[in-house]
Symmetry: C2
Subunit: 258 residues, 2 copies
Amino acid sequence: MTNSTPQKSAGSEAEVTAAVLVIGDEILSGRTKDKNIGYIADYMTNIGIDLREVRIVPDVEDEIVDALNAMRARYTYVFTTGGIGPTHDDITADAVAKAFGVELYEDERIINAMLERMKPEDLNAARRRMARVPRGGDLVTNTVSRVPGFRIGNVIVMAGVPMIMQSMLDGVVPTLKTGIPLTMQAVEAEAPEGAYAAGLSAIAEAHPGLSIGSYPSYVDGKFRNQIVVRGRDPQEVATGVAEIEAMLVPLVAARNVG
Amino acid sequence: MTNSTPQKSAGSEAEVTAAVLVIGDEILSGRTKDKNIGYIADYMTNIGIDLREVRIVPDVEDEIVDALNAMRARYTYVFTTGGIGPTHDDITADAVAKAFGVELYEDERIINAMLERMKPEDLNAARRRMARVPRGGDLVTNTVSRVPGFRIGNVIVMAGVPMIMQSMLDGVVPTLKTGIPLTMQAVEAEAPEGAYAAGLSAIAEAHPGLSIGSYPSYVDGKFRNQIVVRGRDPQEVATGVAEIEAMLVPLVAARNVG
C-alpha cells in the first residue's frame, strides 16, 4: 500500500521493553549496594513496560559504550544510572556521546541552573562537565539537586544517587510510551515445590499468555513457596490462579494428613 | 625455553576476574529484590577477585545461553544465581548444558542425598530435575537444603535463595584461584565534589595503580561525599589518601570561612 498514513505509536497496546545499565566501580566492588534496579523494576511493571535485562559495568568507557550499543538496539528504552557527576570517574556523558557517534556540547540551560545556585567563580571546569550533553539530547529534570539528566534517542541518562534518580524517572516517564500494566497475583503454596511442579507446569503450558513463576524463600526460619501469576489479561490471570489453587488442594490436604 | 615446568597457577598474584549472571523474571519484574549481587561483590573484593560485570536476564533459555557464553569467555569465573529448583521456570541447568554443548545426566549422589530426606515415592520427575548436572560438571555443596549446585569449567551455578547461595559460595571458593585483596580506604570529603574534582583528577592520574572514586550520597537530609581509594599496594593507597587529605585542607578551610 502506498501513501499509507504512518501508524500512530500503539501507546498502551504495543509491547514496550526496557533495560537498565548501572555504571559504577562502587557497585561492583560492593562498596555501594545498588538500590536503583529494584526501584526501576517496580516502576516499569507498574506502567506496563517489560524490563528485560540489567547490566552493571565498571567506569570504563569501552565497557559502557559496548553495553549501551548492545542494549539500545534491542529494547524500546535503556535507562542508565550513575557516572554523571563532576569528578574524573564520571564518564557516562562521554561514553553515551561516543556510543551515538556525536559530540558533547555545553548546555546553557544547565549552566544557568547552576549559576542560580553558585557564584560564577565557583563554576569551575569540573562543574561545567556536568553541563555537557550529547548533541541531539534533551534534558531530564531533576527536582532534587537541579542539575538535569538527559535523554538521547531511546537512552535515558540518570544519576546514581537514588533520590535524584527517582526524581529524574518521574520527570521522564510522562514522555515515554507505556504498555498495559501486568496483572500480578500471588498464591501461597502450602506444599513443597517438588510436589506441585508437574501440576504447575501443565497449567503454565495451557496458558501461554501467562507468566507463572514459583519462588521459594527462607523467612523466619522456614522455607516458603509463593507462586506468582502475571499476565496482561486480568481474566486469564484469575483463571490461572483458580486452576493453581484447585491443583494445590489435594497436595495441601495430603500434607496435613501425613 | 623448552621442557619448562608448567607454571603453577599464579594464585595470589595473577589478576583473577569474575562476573555474576542473575537469572530470573522475578528480579526483572521487581517482585523479588536481589540480595545476592551485593553479597557476592563484597565476597569477591575480600578474596581479591575483581568483579567486572553483572547481568540480570529473564527465564528464557537463549538469553541465559548468550549471556553465559559472552561472560565465560571474558572472565576467570562466572557465578550464576537462580533457576535451579524443580519447577518449569527453573531452566538454568538446561541453559548451561546448552552453552557448553553437553548433555545433562542425573547425578546419583544428588539422588541419594534427596532420598535421605524423602520417601522414594516422593522422588517424582520434577524433583529428579534437580539432580541433573551437565556432563563434566562437579557438585557444589549446599549445607542448607542439601541439593547441591554445580560447577562446569569456569561457571559456578548456585541457587537464588540468598542463604543457600551463600552456603554454596562458601563451598566453592576454596577451590578457586584468588587474587591479592584490594586495600580500600575512604576519606570523608567535607567539601562539594565540584570543588575538589580537579585536584582529585590530578592525584588519580599520578597513581595509575590506584582506583579512586568520589561517591555522593544523601543521608539524613544531607549530601555527603566520600572519596574511596582502592589498590593492591597498601603503601600506595596510604600515599594516595595522604595526598587527597592534603588537597582537601584548603577547600574545607575556605568553606568553613565562607
